[in-house]
Amino acid sequence: MKWSEAVLPESVAENSTAAAIAQRLPDAIVDAKMAIDGPVLTIAAKEILPACGLLKQSLGFERISAITGVDWWPGVPRFELVYFLHSLRHNARLRLIVRLEEDQPVDSVCAVWRGANWYEREVFDLFGVHFRNHPNLERILMPADWEGYPLRKDYPVHGHRYSYQDE
């Protein structure tokens, strides 16, 4: 669905960042709403890299605060990637959301912000989301030979190996 400046909800259309993205990358914004700390824009998965590039180069978001994921299983699309951006010079914060299907990969934004490296590794480690073109996409918190993705909703809290019956 294409959102243009005229179609952005009123609360977000006033926000210059959202308007700029809607203008230059018309296919990027899928949904938009306003939260207390700034706008929350849902971006199409294939447009996340150009959108982030635009945000850093032209719109002043020099910092990426964090990247994380949310699992909405058994809802569809399953995963929700959340990017928290911060602009030091404008003192503004922005949240980007990308909805992904279960095995859908997404482009890594490490080329835009180096700080995205470990956060994307963590999302890969705990959710199993694959990031294309990531410098070293390997597990970061779990041991390297771990099987399964712990923060998924169908992964039990105590883990699969925790069973007294087998030992």
Partner: protein, 421 residues
């Protein structure tokens, strides 16, 4: 520089070598495959990594060519556990994420949930929260100073700092019954009523702190060994640090005035008068100065809180969220029922998501709480400052001597609970 002459009794028995002679010795450059180049494991168990951090170092003699930090040794799945608990049961977990600045984590989580609930927190609770968070900042910086100095070799500072911190922990015990994992800041206000005599107790502690901070800074600043080991060490260009996501005193020591307490004021921080110290030298010594000054500013904030503490309730007026007064619970039926319902079933939080940022002693701390309308959080994500700061370790340790790497790791002030969760 230490001046002295080293008398070497060997082949050159007649010639006395001075320190200047020894420092000018040039080692031949390493050839590829030569024996001077090897990989050293600064294992997860190491006194100077401040926790279970593994750094794999590729060395050329004593110079680090490449450093690869490996984390995950303290990963306990706190975020996963949060999803199985009620909202109020998550608070003791947040204590243990950054176990040296518990109240800051409590505050961040409580503020995020209060945003989702749209709760109004009374001014007294907000001022008490600010006061206790600033005391936590002082306590955390005291540990940083003690362990940082200990790593570099100044052992006495460690004892002085822990002695001061002991007084602050006694204050926390007075308030909540617990020295470290206080869980004192709850959703809707505070856990318990502030105890009798807290005002005098904190005033006494502040008097000691004011003198102590100056004394400890003086111990180190006028010490030539300290200056030699910390000046000019650990510099990384500012734009690289910002790109890597570094926040907190490391960024402020590079000249960037970023402090969440000023940029996104929360919990009445805008009513307090304090400065955000910055330096431009961007080395370990600058970070030391920034943290010492932050301690002084925190003391200033606590003094203002003591002087101007408003009166009134210390919990929000929200009977379905906040536990009722204990005495009333024992005598009134409605209070008993509310207490029972809150403790066993929890309270439902409207669906939505909230991202709350606070300033932890280590940098920008944020909690992202996603609610799906039930009494259990759907997702709690902790954006911890040490995780982002540690990313910069690989870049910061390139081309650095091993001894300097210890000073750099101390100046980063990361806590592994923060990193791994």
């Amino acid at each position: 520089m230490i001046e002295g002459k080293a008398h070497v009794e060997s082949l050159d028995a007649e010639r006395e070598l001075s320190v200047e002679d020894l420092s000018g010795i040039e080692l031949p450059p390493a050839r590829p495959g030569s024996s001077r180049r090897f990989t050293l494991n600064m294992g997860p168990q190491h006194p100077s990594t401040h926790g279970v951090l593994r750094v794999v170092l590729e060395l050329d003699g004593e110079t680090i060519i490449k450093a690869r930090p490996e984390i995950g040794y303290l990963h306990t799945g706190i975020e996963k556990q949060c999803e199985t608990r009620k909202y109020q049961q998550v608070i003791p977990l947040t204590d243990r994420v950054d176990y040296l600045s518990n109240l800051n984590n409590n505050l961040c989580y409580s503020l995020a949930v209060e945003r989702l609930l749209a709760l109004e927190i009374p001014p007294k609770a907000q001022w008490m929260r600010v006061m206790l968070c600033e005391l936590t900042r002082v306590a955390s910086h005291l540990i940083w100073l003690g362990t940082h100095a200990l790593d570099i070799g100044a052992m006495s500072v460690y004892f002085y700092c822990f002695r001061e911190r002991e007084e602050i922990l006694k204050i926390f015990e007075m308030f909540s019954g617990q020295r470290m994992m206080t869980s004192y800041i709850r959703i809707g206000g505070l856990a318990l009523e502030p105890p009798r005599g807290w005002h005098q107790a904190i005033s006494k502690v502040l008097e000691r702190l004011v003198l102590g901070i100056d004394e400890y800074q003086n111990l180190l600043t006028s010490n030539p060994i300290w200056l030699n080991r910390t000046r000019g060490v650990g510099m990384l260009p500012v734009d690289v640090m910002i790109d890597l996501g570094v926040t907190g005193p490391m960024l402020r020591a590079a000249g960037v005035n970023m402090d969440t307490r000023k940029d996104c004021p929360h919990s009445s921080y805008e009513l307090f008068d304090f400065d955000v110290p910055t330096r431009t030298a961007n080395d370990v010594f600058a970070r030391f100065e920034v943290r010492m000054e932050e301690m002084r500013q925190s003391v200033r904030i606590v003094k203002q809180a003591l002087d101007g503490m408003p009166s009134g309730p210390w919990q929000a007026d929200a009977p379905h969220v906040v536990l009722p007064d204990r005495e009333r619970m024992k005598t009134q039926m409605e209070s008993l029922i509310y207490h029972f319902k809150i403790v066993t079933e929890g309270f439902r939080v409207p669906a939505g998501s909230a991202y709350q940022v606070v300033e932890s002693p280590r940098g920008e701390l944020a909690y992202y709480v996603v609610s799906d309308g039930t009494a259990n959080p759907h997702r709690v994500f902790m954006r911890t400052p040490s995780f982002a700061n540690l990313q910069a370790l690989g870049a910061m340790l390139e081309g650095v001597l091993i001894a300097d790497s210890i000073a750099i790791m101390g100046s980063m002030d990361f806590v592994l609970g923060d990193v791994d969760r």
